[in-house]
């Protein structure tokens, strides 16, 4: 039995040799036909490439399929047989390719069809990815809901997965109290941190967009855009560090100054920093929308004697509002799914409170906590991550859909193709 690497190398070498042979044989044959005066519908090179495709394509398919069967289904086929079979397919393909070097064969169109097929297959990867996300999450989430009741998960107010590992180890009776998976405190925490982030990001982002679109001179625009892009390009782990090390202590001190008691894992710090992270997102989308409002509307308003502020507030913004809402919804979906900032700066303790100075946890924090612990994969705590992930996926998907519909309406109404 040869090692798999050698089989692989041998296969590649043989296939390349056959492909090169196919290319030159087909080209020689086509050139020969042409010099004998036949009127060919394609160039010799095109026949040559077609032969390469018929040689390598089916052989690669056979090899990939058999590798898939071998690795995944654990079928026991000797690799040497597979090697032989796929190379035999390649030789047959070579002969077919050569036999197609005929004056009336449209080699160029055949290549065109193959290329179109390959490109379409590449385009399917994104569909497969979405399906992959859905399947991976839904299956594991279903296993979770077999262990825990769905109703309890949606409405319960206590998230205490602590003892689920005993159940997974078959020692459920020893646990002092049963694990509880009530996700309401997690959603509440996520909601409050998202709300804080939006309270920071939407006003600042929108105002910055108004300034850039309506007031700023060209030089300021060219300077401000890259600055905002830098803000958007900072990795979230860096924002998380900033929130935990710099912002949280400031908030604790400030709260102490007013005689309030703040936790070092308070919800305000990650919320504010997340808001800062989202500012460029809102400002650049709103900037595009405001720029897409037709100038004729501004001119009409100014011609009626409205001042610039009145034009912006009562003409431009009402027109742009669907686009702005769409941008804000996208921003909300981003804040809901944001992980690193909350993992580093928010708390771990599920805490059902509306006080932003207390520590609270979010859905994404618990997903990370459940999957980085040293739990068995089969335990309810690990699987709970997938149930939470499913909720996150559904909510963000819905937000994106609504946002896309709103921006499409705006686009159709004002026939703007820039969005």
């Amino acid at each position: 039995m040869m090692p798999i690497n050698q089989v692989y190398l041998l296969f590649c070498a043989a296939l390349i040799a056959l492909g090169v042979a196919a290319f030159f044989l087909a080209r020689a044959r086509a050139s020969q036909l042409r010099t004998h005066g036949a009127a060919m519908v394609a160039q010799p090179d095109q026949y040559a490439w077609f032969s390469v495709v018929t040689t390598a394509g089916p052989a690669l398919l056979v090899a990939a399929l058999s590798a898939f069967v071998l690795l995944l289904l654990g079928a026991d086929i000797p690799t040497l047989y597979l090697l032989g079979a796929s190379l035999a397919v390649a030789v047959v393909g070579l002969l077919i390719g050569l036999s197609q070097v005929r004056p009336d064969f449209h080699a160029r169109q055949a290549i065109e069809r193959v290329i179109r097929g390959i490109l379409a297959a590449a385009a399917m990867v994104s569909i497969v990815t979405t399906l992959g996300i859905l399947i991976s999450i839904v299956f594991e989430a279903l296993r979770f809901f077999q262990m825990q009741s769905f109703w309890e998960f949606i409405t319960g107010t206590t998230w205490a997965p602590g003892n689920s590992f005993l159940a997974a180890a078959g020692r459920a009776d020893e646990g002092a109290s049963a694990a509880q998976f009530g996700s309401v405190p997690l959603f509440a925490g996520t909601f409050i941190i998202t709300l804080i982030a939006m309270l920071v990001a939407i006003p600042i982002g929108l105002m910055a967009a108004i300034y850039m679109a309506e007031f700023a001179p060209a030089q300021v625009r060219t300077l401000a855009k890259p600055v905002l892009e830098v803000l958007a390009g900072i990795p979230t782990v860096v924002y998380g560090f900033f929130a935990a090390i710099t912002v949280a202590p400031i908030i604790v001190d400030a709260a102490g100054f007013f005689g309030l008691d703040a936790s070092f894992n308070n919800a305000l710090a990650p919320g504010i920093v997340m808001g800062i992270m989202i500012i460029p997102f809102i400002s650049s989308l709103s900037d595009d929308v405001i720029n897409a409002v037709p100038d004729s509307m501004r001119e009409g308003s100014l011609a009626l004697g409205m001042t610039k502020a009145e034009t912006i507030i009562s003409v431009v913004l009402p027109v742009a509002i669907p686009g702005i809402i769409s941008a804000s919804l996208l921003a909300v979906s981003r804040a809901l799914g944001e992980t690193m900032i909350v993992v580093m700066a928010a708390g771990m303790r599920p805490n059902l409170t509306a006080n932003p100075l207390e520590d609270m946890t979010t859905v994404t924090v618990r997903i990370v906590a459940a999957l980085t612990g040293d739990q068995e994969f089969e335990s309810a705590e690990t699987l709970s991550a997938f149930a939470l992930g499913l909720v996150l996926f559904v909510v963000t998907l819905a937000l994106n859909m609504v946002s896309v519909i709103m921006i499409r309406r705006f686009r159709e109404k004002y026939r703007s193709n820039d969005l």
């Binding site: 690795l71 160029r108 169109q109 065109e112 179109r116 390959i118 490109l119 385009a123 399917m124 994104s126 990815t129 979405t130 992959g132 996300i133 991976s136 999450i137 299956f139 006003p203 600042i204 105002m207 910055a208 300034y211 309506e214 700023a216 401000a224 600055v227 905002l228 830098v230 803000l231 390009g233 900072i234 990795p235 979230t236 782990v237 860096v238 560090f241 900033f242 710099t246 460029p280 400002s283 610039k308 502020a309 009145e310 912006i312 996208l330 979906s333 981003r334 799914g337 992980t339 690193m340 993992v343 994404t364 997903i367 990370v368 980085t372 992930g389 996150l392 996926f393 998907l397 994106n400």
Partner: protein, 388 residues
């Protein structure tokens, strides 16, 4: 409806004041955003720049049989606790590699303990009073100094802050990015080519388009769940490796590259396509010989931005276990590795104060790389931008 001229003038003044107010308010919002950036960068500089310097201490090192057996015996008792334990631990090895050292005593600059380092940088340390006195004394004699921290760039992770470096994470990032780009660049460009140049306008095409837009907005952590459930649990790709990390990030970066490539393809004017069709090119020939070369700079720019985004991503990698403790530079795509953002995350969780400095130092390096990548993209866009 009779208003005096004065009333109207006053009203007008008020209305113009409102415009000025809106202008200043909106300008203030932009300035505030810029201020955040300045505060943030300067905070990172203040916290991170000290990480590029590390305390070293000049001590007499005795290379003898005894120090081979018991490394701490190699240095004087009064400075024993001031020298890095990592240095002492590697002493027997360096003696084995250089037998000439045996029996000599040399005055050498060696790495100091992180407590000394923090003391010199003016932070709170666990040094005792008598140790402080020794350090102050050595400082006066010029035998303790802050020197450029080359270890930070050449060493892997360590539990001792004075030994920790970002090299293994940097190599891990490079390997992960190689996998990511090898997978998502061809697939992304091919998808965009299909959608822009080849696809018929039917329901399947629309489904693919909507799907790509949705994929771009899916929270990154969900790609980690996909990587865990499908790559690791189903296909059996080894955990924590650049291979699985790269594959996961590739799916995440795919929509970015597709969208950027489509924009670049769309900016090629239709007249070029029509001219090529006019002289008898097939569709693939038009794309290969005209559209693709003309849009290539745009595609490259978009890919660099996608690469920078993938490079800063942490959440999905935590899920697939790339936060491992990696002291050595990994050699293969199927060995456990860590990446720079994950290293920053790990260090940020260390209780030792000296690691805060390392974290900020790592952040500065990462930001420098990302900003130069983005600057390259902007520069390329400027240089190759063509107005038709």
């Amino acid at each position: 409806m009779s208003q005096s001229f004065d009333e109207i003038t006053a009203q007008l003044k008020h209305r113009h004041r409102r415009t000025a107010r809106l202008k200043w308010l909106s300008m203030g919002a932009l300035a505030l955003a810029a201020t955040f950036l300045v505060v943030f960068i300067s905070d990172m500089l203040v916290k991170g720049l000290p990480a590029f310097q590390q305390a070293q201490i000049q001590v007499e090192v005795t290379y003898s049989e005894q120090s081979q057996q018991m490394p701490p015996a190699a240095v004087n008792e009064d400075v024993r606790r001031l020298v890095s334990r990592g240095f002492l631990r590697t002493l027997p090895m360096s003696m084995r590699d250089n037998p000439d050292l045996m029996g000599t005593t040399r005055l050498e600059w060696v790495l100091a303990d992180s407590a000394v380092d923090q003391y010199l940088k003016g932070h709170h340390t666990r040094l005792k009073d008598d140790q402080r006195a020794v350090v102050d004394d050595l400082l006066a004699k010029g035998q303790v100094a802050l020197k450029f921290n080359t270890r930070f760039f050449t060493a892997g992770d360590s539990k001792m802050p004075e030994l920790a470096g970002i090299a293994s994470a940097a190599i891990g990032t490079i390997m992960t990015m190689i996998v990511t780009m090898l997978v998502c660049f061809p697939i992304g460009v091919m998808t965009a080519l299909y959608l822009e140049e080849f696809a018929p306008d039917n329901w399947l095409t629309q489904v693919i388009e909507i799907n790509i837009n949705n994929l771009a907005a899916v929270p990154s952590i969900l790609f980690g769940l996909l990587g865990l459930a499908i790559y690791i649990n189903f296909f059996g790709v080894p955990r924590s490796t650049p291979l699985v990390g790269g594959l996961t990030l590739a799916l995440m970066t795919l929509p970015v590259i597709i969208i950027a490539t489509r924009t670049a393809l769309r900016s090629v004017p239709d007249t070029i396509r029509q001219a090529a069709f006019g002289v008898g090119c097939s569709r693939w020939q038009v794309v290969r010989d005209h559209v693709l070369p003309l849009s290539f700079p745009g595609i490259l720019t978009g890919s660099i931005i996608g690469l920078a985004q993938a490079m800063g991503e942490t959440a999905p990698l935590i899920i697939i276990g790339m936060v491992a403790f990696i002291p050595d530079v990994s050699a293969s795509f199927s060995d456990a590795a860590t990446v720079m953002p994950a290293q920053i995350f790990t260090w940020a969780g260390e209780p030792d104060r000296a690691f805060t400095e390392k974290t900020a130092g790592g952040i500065l390096v990462l930001l420098a790389v990302l900003i130069s990548l983005n600057a390259t993209a902007v520069w390329m866009r400027k240089k190759f931008e063509r107005r038709w």
